[in-house]
Symmetry: D2
Subunit: 409 residues, 4 copies
């Protein structure tokens, strides 16, 4: 269990850190100014500065760092990628700059690992190039997403076509002007065994019958120009070749997709937590009341200490998870993935809340990115499975492990 | 310490409850549809339905219920008003319907209690009639608001004029199309003893030198058409008659104003907490996963129980505070007011967070009022003094009381 | 809901407070010195000072205050008794001094309310006189006590005899030299409907077949000379007249018994919490480190504030419960009783833990009563139903209430 | 940062684990039976089984594993020792079996690192052989131990003698029949700079003027036959050769001593937490209520998950601390040492409390080691500096690091 950053990671971290400070930090305000401020995603445009930053990042080789085993990227392990993803988590615009943003990274992994050559050429390559973006359509508005077998949308196979029907939401990135397709998950055989019933299908956004119903605000924020969307599928007919890996293999792919995706989320959330703690400390040291810096008042120092301890622990757990994924595979990492999915967003939410409090009213506004950090962390407590489901996974595996230990003792 | 609702309260609570169910609940969507959705307060209009509701409420005598001792209202005590304010807290649009919304209630109390006959005629009467609205300009962007003596804005007296300079923010209601004046608090004599240095001045919004700089989003929400604003005062010259109670009496008035104002906030926040718990229970009982209603899964029932216990206790503490204010005055209620200011918003925030979690993604959107309830509770942990300041007040008074007890024993 | 102490309560509280300060406080050390320090209950003796205090208390009319409707006591309501019980909770030896200690108070209520004239003469009168003490044998070592229907001990009826078999534990007071009988609860008819299967039987400790197996330490403390015991019943034959109220009425009596008993526990636990907070404040104000009293260091003042708020709320909830029991009976008070059973011991445990921490090592020893207060609070989180069961009751009743409200709306 | 156990550690862990299961687990009851049960330490005897276990452990080479760089032990690094110390933490009797118990390990390190050849021959060798035990006398009853400069005991140098005066308490192991000396820390030069004022002196327990005043119970437990003691020093005259490293070097030694000592405590506390979680799971899976194992009821599974996550994180933080100590020394590890000193005991306390709760009444008794585990964890929140002091250290270092980062950015 060696968490020492590899030479490659150290070198990349240094370059990425510099890029973050020198290119991205000053560009944040520019990016914000280039947004339209509209709640209607049809008005949204990709900010020019983003494409400029992408070009620079790609030119510097800071591109597709997330991909473990591809010619297009440096081929970093999860453990190697972790500190880089955390760095990106310090700025909301950073992941896209480096072509490392969700949900595209997960979709690229799926296509890279499970896609047919035709699928890879048509959909993966432009994603790797940063020319298009994509969505993932799994969660449904009408059923509890915590129980995936609840899923009601259908992907019926009729001859050499697959027909999609149903309604999905929380498709992240759906509003992006560059979004070209979603990976849709639906029921294709209600009579197969439970985990062989669903298929994943590549569905272009311009296919007849696909309709973006609306974009979803999170704490009133539409997260322009990406957003989270709700969309409907009405008799959307696609060639069966659009099915990934073949009918009934949806859950198999989902398992492979969600592991690293969750770990990436947690890595970025650690960066968010660190950013919140930095802002908190800056404010606590520079603002005075009753003749002292806030840091010296009441329990404020304890809050700093508690956050440092919580973040430090959450990071180590995340590194262990990445290491476990790398060395023993997703099944061995099952409990750890669920553990960080509970632990890290909670820490980030706590850090953001504490930083808001110490900023007073300013913390709630857009003058500092804390409300945004807060919302990001809050979403993560629901996205890719709510806390409750992950806690249940951890508990079940623990109970099993304890039983095994007892029998062995 | 008799918390039994009086006959008047019972009668009013029944009528108010009916009005909430029959008039306000169905009007919430209408109201939302009549908003402009703009982030620019100059576009904001008072929704027509609000004026219709106000007229109905006034006609039914459900008007100015907050005023303890005025001819215009029923003259309820704080304890009598508490259950009514809590009921109003169930809907964001309700307080204005009954002319009981912040910060107008506080301003009306100030003018009623401390205003000159001329001030009352010119500013109080239209407020009581619901014809205009008002703001309160105390907090400043450049200094920690937790320490009121930090205040830097000035209200210098020059002959028969008072000249206002400085910058204020978090002036709630500033964006409202009906907002006509703010009560400004500023330094008028830097050499007086600390609590005699500041004055409160009635400042019309159209006075030369007053400028609304911007409206402040809270978790990206501008709270149209009221909002919270930042405004600047540049050599704003007003007649000294606009000073309330006289120069240097600002803190004296503030003490009187903030007590009941904080209690009203807490009463409404209890209603918000109850609304969140109701929504949580409805979702938990109607939504199923893994073959059971969510209510029966994992720790969800514990969450319901914990919230019920927390709300119940917070309400009793609030009632005790109201009773103490009524029977023994603001000084005796000092610790209790600070106690509820810490306890109640925290409970409401916790209830909203839990309800969001059980709603899944829907909880974060505008499909349910939970994000709004959350933001409301979160603001209250800062408004009228952050938690930290109130905890310090409670601790200090407790330490004093314990010392007195020791010496007596 | 009037929590104002009645005149009787005020008068009694004043006298009781004086008695606590003048008689009991100085006697605590004497009492401790008169204990044997043995872990074997057969060595235990009633400290002489206790009988002296009892005689004084009785002479002053501070006797049997808990009894709501008996000639022997002042006939206080639960609400009237609450502040008195809280006062008693400040000292571990106080409840017995005033003949108000568990489990005797519960047993006296049972016999008073449900006992036959013969049972009352033989067992109730000496309890009321403080001449004997008693136990309550319900919990069993081999089954989860949280589910009362698990109970396995039997009370079979054979002709005019009832035969007791089984094993019980956590019979409080069993080790007391004055303990003469226990009320035993066992299965008498396995085929009746679930809540008509069990009977309560008065079982003298000297009946053949009754055996005290051992006394149970709580955090290594045997609580001499009362203690908690484990005892076995082997074919213990008693006349059927020893059954209270008749066969199969055990649960009916238990419901009546446990309500007030739990409320009394909570009242005393509030006293324990206040004592812990007092000790905490004394230490925090008198001990210095880094040149300041501990009270002024770090988050210590916040701890004081948080405890004051928690205790204040817990007390109001307890008063409401007492008032509900008095005015609307045990069924209406069901949720509230469970609420305080969760809330109050947790607050007392938290107060004791915080006070221990601020005392440093001394807090863990017998130099201060904090370890004892801690253990008392910790036991209460299990006694008369663990937190978990009470939370489940609160949640279930809340869910029901919410459903009813929805249907009404 | 490589946490992979070394080959030596793996091999030792396997042997140690087997020894724990095969030798120590069955001996726990024997050991308990060989205790006298007396509260008077003069009655205490070393249980025969302990000496038998020590002989076996030593013969198997499981001896002095804690010593990083001594011929007598395998010379493990802190990181290598960590998993072994955690294993020992599963049983209260294990550390002494392997000659790895506090405070002897700390004292051996001090003498090994700073002792003169004569001191090492006379006091270190018998400790390494397990022939004697020792104490550490630093904390004082009359001053807040959180601020070490408060220390009032004196070690005055008079010619070639050093004279000890004062009172110390919480000297762990003082009651052990084999305890032969304590390391005493006292003021030797009040006029030196603050951290050069104190000296550490080896003081034999049979020196004239040394008096064991009493043993201190922790939650009523005297922890026979080791215990924690209070002792007085009255004009105790010793040769100056008994001063370690020379006059005024006490704090220098303390810094070196406390780092590894705190880490060892935390490692063992992790074992204690794991033991509590194991017991919790066994009970939750084997006990039923309402027709289900407790594990499946309410929030119990969440409790298991939360503990697993907390322990896992606390362990990783402890490993990082050990690694930092090994690779970058005590100064670089300062914050981490304080972090684990806050985090680990809290987790262990939480695990023990949760396990007690799920055991019901049994959890409070000696039938399971939970009350003992609880007390152990609770003591650790005070020993070697209370939580508050360590949080302050973490906060201070964090604030400094953040400032440095800001200036660099």
């Amino acid at each position: 269990m060696d968490f020492t950053p590899s030479e490659r990671t150290q070198m990349l971290a240094e370059r990425l850190g510099r890029f973050m400070r020198e290119e991205i930090a000053p560009a944040e305000a520019v990016y914000a100014a280039q947004l339209t401020g509209s709640a209607d995603h049809r008005d949204w445009r990709q900010p020019v500065v983003m494409e400029q930053l992408k070009a620079k990042a790609r030119a510097e080789g800071l591109w597709n760092l997330f991909l473990p085993d591809l010619e297009g990227g440096p081929g970093l392990s999860n453990l190697e990628y972790a500190p880089l993803a955390e760095l990106m988590g310090h700025s909301f615009i950073a992941p896209e700059v480096f072509n490392c943003s969700a949900p595209d990274t997960g979709n690229m992994e799926v296509l890279h690992r499970y896609g047919s050559p035709a699928q890879r050429e048509r959909w993966l390559q432009p994603l790797l190039d940063g020319g298009i973006r994509s969505g993932f359509a799994m969660t449904e508005p009408d059923v509890a997403s915590s129980d995936a077998t609840n899923m009601q949308a259908t992907a019926r196979i009729e001859g050499d076509e697959v027909v999609l029907d149903g309604r999905k939401w929380w498709t992240t990135g759906l509003g992006h002007p560059h979004c070209r397709f979603v990976i849709f998950m639906g029921l294709s055989d209600a009579h197969a065994e439970p985990h062989r019933r669903h298929s994943m299908v590549i569905c272009p956004l311009d296919a007849p019958g696909v309709h973006i119903e609306r974009m979803l605000p999170v704490f009133h924020d539409y997260d322009e120009p990406s957003g989270h969307g709700e969309l409907s599928f009405s008799h959307v007919r696609l060639p069966v070749e659009n099915i990934i890996l073949g009918p009934g293999r949806g859950f198999e792919i989902a398992q492979g997709r969600l592991g690293p995706g969750r770990v990436h989320h947690c890595m970025r959330a650690l960066g968010a937590a660190e950013r919140a703690l930095s802002l908190l400390c800056q404010r606590a040291q520079s603002r005075t009341a009753f003749g002292k810096p806030l840091f010296k008042l009441g329990g404020n120092a304890d809050i700093v200490a508690n956050l440092r301890m919580a973040i430090e622990q959450a990071r180590l757990l995340t590194l262990k998870t990445a290491w476990m994924l790398d060395t023993q595979g997703p099944k061995a990492a099952l409990s750890l993935i669920s553990q960080i999915k509970v632990v890290v967003p909670a820490v980030a939410q706590q850090a953001a809340d504490a930083a808001i409090q110490i900023h007073g009213g300013a913390g709630l506004t857009d003058d500092v990115p804390l409300a945004q950090l807060y919302a990001y962390a809050r979403v993560l407590r629901l996205a890719d499975g709510p806390d409750e489901v992950h806690r249940a996974v951890v508990a079940k595996l623990e109970a099993k492990a304890q039983l095994a230990r007892e029998q062995h003792a």
